[in-house]
Symmetry: C3
Subunit: 259 residues, 3 copies
Amino acid sequence: MITLTSDFGSPYPAAMKGVIRRHTDAELIDVAHDLPRGDPRAAAFWLRFVLPEFPPAVHCAVVDPGVGTDRAALVVRAGDHALVGPDNGVLLPAARELARADADDDGPHIEVFTWSYDDPASATFHGRDVFAPAAATVHETGVDAVETLARANRTDDYTNLRFPEPTATEHTAVGEVLVVDDFGNAITNVPGRVLADAFGGTVAVDGESVPVRRAYAELGAGERLVTVGSHGNVELAVNRGRGDDAFDVTAGDSVEIGW
Amino acid sequence: MITLTSDFGSPYPAAMKGVIRRHTDAELIDVAHDLPRGDPRAAAFWLRFVLPEFPPAVHCAVVDPGVGTDRAALVVRAGDHALVGPDNGVLLPAARELARADADDDGPHIEVFTWSYDDPASATFHGRDVFAPAAATVHETGVDAVETLARANRTDDYTNLRFPEPTATEHTAVGEVLVVDDFGNAITNVPGRVLADAFGGTVAVDGESVPVRRAYAELGAGERLVTVGSHGNVELAVNRGRGDDAFDVTAGDSVEIGW
Amino acid sequence: MITLTSDFGSPYPAAMKGVIRRHTDAELIDVAHDLPRGDPRAAAFWLRFVLPEFPPAVHCAVVDPGVGTDRAALVVRAGDHALVGPDNGVLLPAARELARADADDDGPHIEVFTWSYDDPASATFHGRDVFAPAAATVHETGVDAVETLARANRTDDYTNLRFPEPTATEHTAVGEVLVVDDFGNAITNVPGRVLADAFGGTVAVDGESVPVRRAYAELGAGERLVTVGSHGNVELAVNRGRGDDAFDVTAGDSVEIGW
């Protein structure tokens, strides 16, 4: 199985699928192709959220504002999974999460390879010209045999994106909005456990009291709430509305939760 | 085969696919993931329109503004098909339509089961945590064996959504716009047969005379028309334009057709 | 394999997939369903760009502003591929490109067949009622046996869309914007070779000097550039921005490149 993720919109991902189909009959599953443009961090968040749901697979993820420059192409092995994409951090948070299942006493192990490629047909569409063939080749060779490929060279020198950690005191956490989802929910980096005793009550969001609920529909349509989303993080939401608008926040904004 | 329908946008449906892939190799086909947010009635319309085109399948449909509340999860068997989703009516119009093929003298039969689920991982994403595993389980068990599953319990107590019927006199039908499609066509609940003698002529739409044509391109670009859409209902349209704008209507609005 | 292309948005393509699934288990791959509405030329551009990446397949492409009128349905054979869609030119540029691989001394050969169809269930959704069954039938019969089908009749009378050619002098090319992609890149019909000696320098776009670069990220965010896109044509772009806005152009606009 090969999953495909990008910020390409349409119809560029189909060109990648055609290229892959010339190499392999592997099943193709789209993760998303409408991720925020040129934003490896947002893509890294979504890959970390979605990919652990999958059985072992090759994941081709191309959010690549540096396409055509000298940034490397990477293949990352994480347990029985492989991730293929540009060296800008986009693959790493998901890779660490996928590797957790195989973690030993030293913690999760990932192995990172640079993927060398000949002068590609374009400098603007490495999804088609570099990453799709790489993903197909890794799939056909096998995730456990990446090192047998001449194009793959182990490296310790790569962009190792990590999400910012919130700063916490006894009764507050100052975090940040990592992404806003399609519903308008503002997903923060604050772990949901800070709300453990607050369900049914309120917390202060940037000083304003907001109800804490498990389900959106526990409040009326249009009402603001704080909840723990399906990613386990604190989320600023509106029942049947957009949290980003109601809380006036966007990705990257700082948020203080007080309880 | 498992079809997937939601109002989730992107990339949430991919998480559902990952979960399903851990249970079954069934083919996955997307119906739509951009249905009107939190609107079970619109989703019910589209499911009734699309699902009867498919051969026997399990259809997982999650438009679920009550996610995380105590609304039940349902499995509905309709002929050789099964539908899986929340108990808010979204599954029923399609189920009745799918059951028609197997109808006997007493009419189409559907069987409704509640699907009991353990405390799910989230209160905000039952698509991933409840409905995807349920659909995969029903698929693996077989549509004809739903009753063998301990989680499935037959029920007569469910939300049985029906679309409103138009009120008709000899020369008028007062109906309503059920949905507006991506082209802007305003699809009403008025059956297309009321236009049978009007093609090439006109009808009155809320008192204004509008041409009735079989094909959009029988009129010039930008011109309004009334036609019978591919769902068999009266549709307010504009050749190469948006009917909803030109007729100033949206889903739920009343429309009177006079002939 | 059957690929699907349309301007239908959602969920109409799913109805086509259901119909196809009643005829064949062929793999289904979406090219795009959000192509510019009712614009066969834009669709023809994208089909010509994407389809040559695929191994032999049946390509069903429905951008069809004349749906329900007397325009013919076509099946075009091009090498080991077949294309199915309306007779408005949408299939032809891709067919010629696909046929190139099999070209002999007389150039690429395509064979065009009209596809006769019975009175379809709708006059507004031939994607479901005409083209999906046609594509499934061609797939099941085999691309090399189209002529054995009673519905297929060879023809020389069809809309043979060709893209406009730029007019060139020694130091200028006057071309046109063919399409704008989802990134906002304005893709012209001017062949990329006119920029061969200009990389790292500038060209004049409608008289204004603009840097020529191979990769978007060779310039700062928001800066305009001219590049050769992955289609081999001159493209007006902005690093991490929209070229169409920055150059104030849209599909169909004339552009003069001077070097």
